[in-house]
C-alpha cells in the first residue's frame, strides 16, 4: 500500500562556494495535495527545484530525498531521470518551441512512431485526449506562438502530464498571467488534484497560496521556517515567516547626509519598444539627492529593471512624464548619451549584460571609456593600462593581472569589474541593478563599503535589490514597485520589512500619489 507521503525531504543541505543555499531542509509533501512553497528571492526555492530536477545530481548535496518511498539518486548529466521518475517542473521561463504545434511540443523527443516516420494521427489524438481529460481548453493543432501565455503554460502542463508526472512543480506560474488566466490556472490545478496529481506551487504572491494550497512551506535563507496546513495560517503570519525578524549588522555605517535634489522623475510611463501596446512602466515619480542611496524594492516582474533601463535610455519608450537633471528637462537617447550626462548603469545579470567574458579585465573596464585615452585612430595602451590599474586597485579586484579573462573570475570580482567600468565614466548618478546578486558575503560587504564611499563623494546611487535586508540596510529611502507602478516611497524611519513585502506583493499601497493623480485626470 503506498504511503500517503509522496515526497519526503530530509535534512537536505546544498553548499555553493561561499554560500549555503539550503541548510538542513526537511519537509514532507502528501500525496494528492497542493503544496505551496514561498520565500523571498534567494531563499533557496530554486536550488531545491534544481535538485528535484536532477540538475544538481545525487552526491552534490547532503541529506536524503525520498520519492514514493524510494531514495532519489539522480546521476550527473541526465535531466531525463527526473521526468522518468515522475517529477515534472514547469519553469517560470517556458521551454516550448514556438514554431511547433501544441501536439508536437507535448511529444517532443518521444513522438509515436509508425515505421521510420512519425504517426501524426496518434500524436495529435493522444495530445487531444490529454487536453480533454484535464479540461485544458487548447487545440492540439494550434501553433504555440499564436497562443497566449496562459495557454502556453497549459501546454507545458499537458506535456508534463503526458509523461505521467506524479508530481508537478510550478515555479512562479502566475508571474506573467492576467487575472482571468490565473483564475483558469486555479481551476486546472483543482482538476489535476481530483485526478490525484500532486502539485508543488512556488510563489511569492500570498493571496494565491490561500486560494489554492492545502499546506505551505516557508523558506528563508535556505532554512525551512515552517511547514503547516494552510488553514492554520494567515497573511501576517506568512509575511513574518518570510522576512524573519532580526537584521544583522551586515552593513557598514555611512556618515553623510543626502544633499540637494539633482534628478527628478515625474509621472513616468513607458512601453516596451518591441511591443508598443505593452506598458512596462506605469507611473513612477521620485527624486534623487546628491550622495543619496535610493533603494528600489520589488519582486520579479515589478518593473524595476524596466524602469532603470528606461532611465538609462536603453529600453522603454517613454510615452508620458519628464526627466529632470540639475533643473533641466532632459531626453536620454541611449547609453552613450546617458554616460555623457553623468548617468551610469551597472546592469543586472553581469554575464549577459555587463561583461564581455572572453575579454580581459582591462578591455572590459575601458570599453565604455575609450574616449578618455584614445583618438579615433589610436588607443594609448599605457594610459589605458594605468587608468584601469588604478580602478582595479581601488575596487580591490583580485586577479594576477589585468590581462586575465573575465570568465575565469569569481562572481564578486566580475561584479567589481563591471562597477569599475562604470565608475571610470565618472558618473554623478550610478544605477546599480541587483549589484550583489550571486556573490559571496565577503564580496558583498566590499561592495557595500564602496557604495558608501561613493555616496560620501557625492554620487547619487539608485540601487535595485531583491534582498530586503540589503535594501533596508543600505538605503536612505526606498521606493517599492509592483507591476510597473510605484507603490510609494518609504523614509528611513518607516523602513519595515513587512510593510515593504506587503507593498511589493501588491496587497497595499502607501499613499499612492500616482494612482490618485490619475484618478483626478
Amino acid at each position: 500500500m503506498p504511503n500517503d507521503i509522496i515526497l519526503d525531504i530530509q535534512n537536505v543541505t546544498k553548499q555553493f562556494p561561499g554560500v549555503t543555499a539550503l541548510d538542513k531542509v526537511s519537509f514532507r509533501i502528501k500525496r494528492g495535495e497542493i503544496h505551496g512553497i514561498c520565500g523571498e528571492n534567494g531563499a533557496g526555492k530554486s536550488t531545491l527545484m534544481l535538485i528535484l530536477k536532477g540538475v544538481y545530481p545525487y552526491g552534490t548535496y547532503e541529506g536524503c530525498i525520498r520519492f514514493n518511498d524510494e531514495e532519489l539518486k539522480f546521476e550527473k548529466g541526465s535531466i531525463r531521470q527526473a521526468t522518468e521518475a515522475g517529477i515534472a517542473i514547469v519553469f517560470q521561463e517556458l521551454t516550448l518551441v514556438m514554431n511547433m504545434t501544441v501536439g508536437e511540443n507535448v511529444f517532443l523527443g518521444r513522438e509515436p512512431r509508425e515505421g521510420a516516420g512519425i504517426n501524426w494521427n496518434k500524436l495529435y489524438s493522444d495530445t487531444q485526449a490529454i487536453l480533454n481529460k484535464y479540461n485544458l481548453d487548447i487545440d492540439a493543432n494550434a501553433l504555440v506562438k499564436n497562443l497566449g501565455v496562459g495557454k502556453m503554460q497549459m501546454t507545458e502542463i499537458a506535456k508534463a502530464l503526458s509523461e505521467n508526472a506524479k508530481i508537478l512543480i510550478l515555479d512562479e506560474p502566475t508571474s506573467a498571467l492576467t487575472e482571468a488566466e490565473i483564475g483558469k490556472l486555479m481551476e486546472i490545478l483543482k482538476t489535476l488534484k481530483s485526478h490525484g496529481v500532486t502539485c508543488i506551487y512556488i510563489t511569492h504572491k500570498l493571496p494565491e497560496l490561500f486560494r489554492i494550497t492545502d499546506s505551505v512551506t516557508v523558506l528563508r535563507d535556505g532554512k525551512v521556517i515552517t511547514s503547516q496546513p494552510t488553514s492554520q495560517l494567515n497573511e501576517e503570519m506568512l509575511i513574518k515567516y518570510m522576512v524573519g525578524r532580526e537584521i544583522k549588522e551586515r552593513f557598514p555605517k555611512r556618515k553623510n547626509k543626502p544633499g540637494k535634489v539633482i534628478f527628478e522623475v515625474n509621472g513616468l510611463r513607458a512601453v516596451d519598444p518591441n511591443q508598443l501596446n505593452k506598458e512596462v512602466v506605469k507611473g513612477v515619480d521620485f527624486n534623487l539627492r546628491e550622495g543619496e542611496i535610493f533603494g528600489i524594492a520589488g519582486l520579479m516582474g515589478s518593473g524595476r529593471t524596466e524602469l532603470v533601463t528606461t532611465l538609462f535610455g536603453e529600453y522603454g519608450k517613454i510615452t508620458e512624464g519628464k526627466l529632470n537633471l540639475h533643473g533641466e528637462d532632459i531626453h536620454i537617447g541611449g547609453s552613450y548619451d546617458a554616460m555623457k550626462k553623468g548617468i551610469s548603469l551597472v546592469p543586472e545579470d553581469r554575464k549577459r549584460f555587463g561583461l564581455v567574458l572572453i575579454q580581459s579585465i582591462q578591455k572590459n573596464i575601458s570599453l565604455a571609456n575609450l574616449d578618455q585615452f584614445s583618438t579615433a585612430y589610436s588607443i594609448n595602451f599605457n594610459a589605458e593600462n594605468k587608468a584601469c590599474d588604478s580602478f582595479s586597485q581601488r575596487l580591490a579586484i583580485k586577479a594576477p593581472n589585468l590581462s586575465v579573462m573575465c570568465q575565469t573570475l569569481s562572481g564578486g570580482n566580475q561584479q567589481k569589474v563591471v562597477i569599475a567600468k562604470w565608475l571610470m565614466s565618472n558618473p554623478k548618478i550610478l544605477i546599480m541593478d541587483d549589484p550583489t546578486r550571486g556573490i559571496d558575503v565577503g564580496a558583498k560587504y566590499e561592495i557595500y563599503k564602496l557604495m558608501n564611499k561613493l555616496s560620501e563623494e557625492g554620487i547619487a546611487i539608485i540601487m535595485i535589490s531583491s534582498d530586503l535586508e540589503e535594501i533596508i540596510g543600505m538605503s536612505d529611502r526606498i521606493m517599492v514597485m509592483s507591476l510597473g507602478r510605484s507603490m510609494g516611497i518609504l523614509e528611513k524611519k518607516d523602513f519595515d520589512r513587512e510593510k515593504i513585502m506587503i507593498m511589493a506583493t501588491g496587497l497595499m499601497k502607501n499613499h499612492n500619489n500616482v494612482e490618485r493623480r490619475r484618478f483626478h485626470e
Binding site: S374, F381, N382
Partner: protein, 391 residues
C-alpha cells in the same frame, strides 16, 4: 634569465593556437619538401607561393573583422571579381578611347575606381546589415548573385585583357634585389626603434616593461625572418610587389583591429553585443565601418586579381569567399564572433596556398586537391575544438 623564461612560457601558453598553426605550417612545408625532393622550397616555388596567396589573403584580412563582429560576408569573392572586370574594362577599353597615351595615370585611375566600386558596394551591404538589420548571410548572398549578373553585363560574356605593363606590375612586379635589401634594412631599423620607443613609453607611465633580453630576442627573431625571406626571394626575381602590398595592408588592418576604438568595439560586439551596447558602443556604426573596410580590401583584392591573371573574366573571384572564410577559421577566428586575429588569417591563407601549391607539384588532380583541402579544414577545426576541451 629565469624571468624571461617564465614570461616566454606564459606567452606560448596564451597564444597556443597561433603556435599550433605555425607548427602546422612548418610541418606542411617540411612534408612537401621531402615529397618533392627539395623542389618545394626552391626559391622560385617559394616566391610564387607567396604571390599566389595574395588575392584571397586581402579578402581574409577583411573577413576577420566581419566574422569577429558576428557577421559573415559571402559576397567578397564576387565583389573582388566585379572589381577585377571593372578595372580591366577601364584599362582595356575606356581609357584606350579617352586617353590612349597615359599609362601611369590610367593605371592609377583604374586602381582607384576599382577600390571605389568595391567600397561602395560593401558600404551598401553594410548599411543594410548594420542599420536595417537584415542578416548579413542573406544580404551578402543576394549581393553575390547581383554581382554575378553585373559581371556578365560589364564583360558582355567576353574576356577582357588587362595586361598593360604598369597595370601588370601590381601583381606580377618584383622589386630589384638591391631595393629589397634596402627595404629589409629600413624595416629592421624601424622594428628596433619601435621596440625601444615602446619600452620608453611604458616606463614613462611607470610600468616595468618585459625583460629587455626578450624584447631584443623577439626583434632579432623577426629581423632574421625578414632577412631570410628577402634572401630567398632575391634568389629568384626579388621581393614580389603584391606581397609587399599585402604586408602593408595587413599591418594597417592589424593596427586598426588592435590599436583603435573601431577594432576594440568590433571585438566587444562579437564577444557580447548586449554588454557592448550598454557600454555606449554604437553597434550599427561599428558594424557598418567593418563592412566599409571589407569593401576597400575587396577593391584591392580585385585590382590585384585583374593584374595577376591579366584578364577580367566572367568567372573572376568565384569561390574566393570560401577560401577567405576558411583562412580565417584555420587562423583561429571563432565562428561565434569575438575572437580572431589578422595575423592568424594570413597564416591560414598561407597554409591553404602551401597545400595547393604542394599538391600541384605532386601532380595531384584538382579533384583530389579539393577533397584533401576539405579534409584538412575540418580536421584542423576539430583539433582546435579538441585542444580547447582538453585544456
Amino acid at each position: 634569465m629565469s624571468d624571461a623564461l617564465s614570461f616566454l612560457k606564459k606567452q606560448i601558453k596564451e597564444n597556443i593556437q597561433t603556435y599550433a598553426i605555425l607548427f602546422a605550417m612548418a610541418f606542411v612545408w617540411l612534408l612537401f619538401s621531402f615529397l618533392t625532393e627539395g623542389m618545394y622550397i626552391r626559391s622560385q616555388n617559394f616566391s610564387n607561393l607567396f604571390r599566389q596567396m595574395t588575392v584571397t589573403s586581402f579578402l581574409a584580412v577583411g573577413m576577420v573583422l566581419v566574422i569577429v563582429t558576428g557577421n559573415i560576408d559571402l559576397s567578397v569573392g564576387k565583389v573582388a571579381g566585379f572589381v577585377s572586370v571593372v578595372a580591366a574594362k577601364f584599362q582595356d577599353d575606356i581609357w584606350f578611347n579617352v586617353m590612349p597615351n597615359n599609362e601611369l595615370l590610367t593605371t592609377i585611375l583604374s586602381v582607384l575606381i576599382g577600390i571605389g566600386v568595391g567600397t561602395i558596394f560593401e558600404a551598401i551591404q553594410g548599411y543594410l546589415i548594420a542599420y536595417l538589420h537584415v542578416p548579413s548571410f542573406i544580404v551578402t548572398l543576394g549581393g553575390s548573385w547581383i554581382l554575378n549578373g553585373a559581371i556578365l553585363v560589364v564583360t558582355e560574356g567576353k574576356t577582357i585583357a588587362a595586361n598593360q605593363p604598369i597595370f601588370s606590375y601590381i601583381a606580377q612586379g618584383y622589386l630589384p634585389p638591391i631595393a629589397g635589401w634596402i627595404m629589409a634594412g629600413a624595416l629592421i631599423l624601424v622594428l628596433f626603434l619601435t621596440m625601444f620607443q615602446s619600452r620608453r613609453n611604458k616606463m614613462k607611465y611607470g610600468f616595468t616593461p618585459a625583460p629587455i633580453v626578450l624584447d631584443i630576442a623577439r626583434t632579432i627573431f623577426l629581423s632574421i625572418i625578414i632577412t631570410v625571406y628577402v634572401y630567398i626571394v632575391n634568389q629568384y626575381n626579388g621581393v614580389q610587389f603584391p606581397v609587399l602590398l599585402l604586408a602593408v595592408t595587413a599591418v594597417v588592418m592589424a593596427y586598426i583591429s588592435n590599436n583603435t576604438p573601431i577594432g576594440r568595439y568590433a571585438y566587444a560586439i562579437g564577444g557580447n553585443r548586449e554588454a557592448a551596447r550598454l557600454s555606449g558602443v554604437n553597434i550599427n556604426k561599428s558594424i557598418f565601418k567593418v563592412f566599409v573596410f571589407m569593401g576597400v580590401l575587396c577593391g584591392i583584392s580585385g585590382v590585384v586579381l585583374a593584374s595577376y591573371v591579366g584578364y577580367g573574366t566572367i568567372a573572376a573571384g568565384s569561390g574566393y569567399e570560401l577560401d577567405a572564410i576558411a583562412s580565417c577559421i584555420l587562423g583561429g577566428t571563432s565562428t561565434l564572433g569575438g575572437i580572431g586575429t589578422i595575423f592568424g588569417a594570413i597564416i591560414g591563407a598561407m597554409l591553404m596556398a602551401s597545400l595547393t601549391s604542394g599538391l600541384q607539384m605532386l601532380n595531384v588532380t584538382a579533384a583530389w586537391q579539393y577533397i584533401l583541402k576539405g579534409i584538412v579544414l575540418v580536421l584542423a577545426v576539430y583539433a582546435d575544438v579538441y585542444l580547447k576541451k582538453s585544456r
